[in-house]
């Protein structure tokens, strides 16, 4: 490589002279083309900073969208399906809020473009996109882990006034709507000799026949894998739920009990067929 350094320095091509009247030619061109000095607009350096701050702002919006997406997935109850391994993975995927995911990705795209356009981050666009995605994902997950969403939701549910977008999201979208013929989740409200009765987060009660030898107490949260039978549900597998995690599904209990939201209706019809309109 050193040889190449030396040789490159030695092989500098000679440059011919420009015509003597070159600068005059420029002035003539300016006059011929009636060129004018553009008025001072936003200085280039200022416009770069504007792009940078807009990009960062959009990244924060993406972070909030990511947090809301995570919260919606958590609240939907679809994560309960994954507790039984990968056999319900496809069903879980059906519950992913694709519109929110798409919106988040678009915002990340916008933020990437602005950050790249600012020219203040001297990296390729792919690297900036990866960074923007990582910041939004990690930040969104961290925000979701602080349980700020649960606090906002409980306040919003108490409010009688409607706050645009926020009320719609926390009251309508981010609520339990997992509805699967083979998986149930609920709180034990009554026990008999060979069966129990659970209440799901929608307020619906179901009689459950448990696997032999299992013991439960009233007030416990359970998730069950099994099948529907004439008089209720026959459980093959039973798991105890974390009361804190499962408890949040019931935050909407006081609101429109027994009423399905739009998403819940869609999934109910998908899982049980068009004709079954049972709540």
């Amino acid at each position: 490589m050193n040889n190449i350094d030396e040789l490159l320095k030695k092989s500098k091509p000679e440059v011919p002279n420009l015509p003597e009247a070159f600068s005059q030619k420029i002035i003539i061109k300016i006059k011929e083309q009636n060129l004018e000095i553009k008025p001072a607009g936003i200085l280039q350096s200022e416009s770069k900073w504007i792009s940078l701050f807009s990009g960062i702002l959009l990244m924060l919006v993406a972070l909030i969208f990511m947090n809301n997406t995570i919260f919606e997935v958590q609240m939907s109850g679809s994560l309960e399906l994954l507790s039984f391994g990968t056999k319900y993975a496809i069903d879980f995927a059906n519950y992913l809020p694709l519109d929110m995911i798409l919106a988040t990705l678009l915002i990340i795209g916008g933020s990437t473009w602005l950050l790249w356009k600012s020219h203040l981050i001297k990296q390729g666009i792919a690297l900036i996109a990866a960074g923007s995605f990582l910041v939004s994902s990690i930040g969104g997950s961290a925000l979701a882990a602080t349980r700020v969403n649960e606090r906002i939701q409980s306040e919003v549910i108490k409010q009688e006034n409607t706050i645009p977008i926020i009320s719609w999201f926390y009251k309508e979208r981010a609520r339990f709507h997992m509805d699967h013929p083979n998986v149930l989740m609920g709180k034990v409200i009554e026990q008999t000799d060979n069966s129990i009765i659970i209440q799901d987060p929608r307020g619906k009660t179901v009689k459950i026949r448990l696997p032999s030898g299992t013991r439960v107490q009233t007030g416990q949260y359970l998730r069950l894998d099994g099948k529907q039978v004439n008089d209720g549900f026959l459980a093959n597998v039973m798991q105890y739920c974390n009361p804190t995690t499962a408890g949040r599904y019931f935050s909407h209990m006081g609101m429109n009990p027994h009423k399905m939201n739009k998403k819940m209706m869609e999934h109910h019809q998908m899982m049980h067929g068009e004709d079954n309109k049972e709540l």
């Binding site: 490159l8 091509p13 070159f22 030619k25 002035i27 300016i30 000095i37 553009k38 280039q44 001297k122």
Partner: protein, 206 residues
């Protein structure tokens, strides 16, 4: 922080106030380095380099009010030249402009026996190889080795980081070396003859 020299600031103010002679002086101050960079970057075609130098200064004129005074004005003009050269390269087919054909290459090869011309020929070989590497690599070679710009200056011109400039130069040299080896299998021999010749001229050989 203001990076404009007093003389540049005076010329720019006078131009903005309608004094075109001031702009002529401004052009005279910077035309040579810009033309030199474009000539060496754009395949040593003086006509093309002259045309693009002209459009560079027309752009400079139009944007005089929006000069970023925190940056060096010379780098700003180089940056405009870089953009204009990139637009030009996009608009023409690279093949049409760049490569010497086989006949031209063999002419170069047959002359290389003559010892007195070895240095010049080697320069020619390097120039042929430079025409074959990607424009982004050729540009950093031109800026660093021929225009003797620092990494920091090149980073401003290319709107990149100093470390990226280092990477680009390293890759450019690797690509150049590969092409040199491909172009002339006896290149190593030429290296030795050339270096021996150069040292003997300096009286370093026994």
């Amino acid at each position: 922080m203001n990076n404009l020299s007093e003389s540049d600031a005076l010329l720019i103010d006078a131009t903005i106030n309608g004094d075109q002679e001031a702009f002529q002086k401004f052009v005279e101050k910077y035309q040579k380095p810009i033309f030199s960079y474009l000539y060496r970057f754009l395949y040593q075609n003086s006509e093309t380099a002259e045309d693009i130098t002209q459009s560079v200064f027309l752009k400079v004129y139009q944007n005089l009010s929006n000069i970023d005074q925190t940056k060096s004005i010379k780098s700003w003009i180089y940056r405009i030249a870089h953009n204009e050269a990139a637009n030009y390269l996009r608009s023409v087919s690279r093949k049409k402009e760049s490569l010497l054909n086989d006949e031209q290459w063999s002419n170069v090869s047959t002359q290389k026996e003559q010892e007195e011309d070895i240095s010049g020929q080697y320069g020619e070989v390097i120039q042929i190889a430079l025409k074959k590497i990607k424009p982004k690599y050729r540009e950093v070679i031109v800026l660093y080795y021929f225009e003797e710009k620092s990494y920091d200056d090149i980073a401003v011109i290319l709107n990149s980081s100093t470390s990226s400039v280092g990477t680009l130069i390293r890759r450019a040299k690797q690509q150049l070396k590969k092409i040199l080896e491909k172009l002339a299998p006896e290149i190593e021999a030429i290296f030795i003859v050339l270096i021996s010749f150069w040292l003997s001229k300096r009286g370093r050989l026994i």
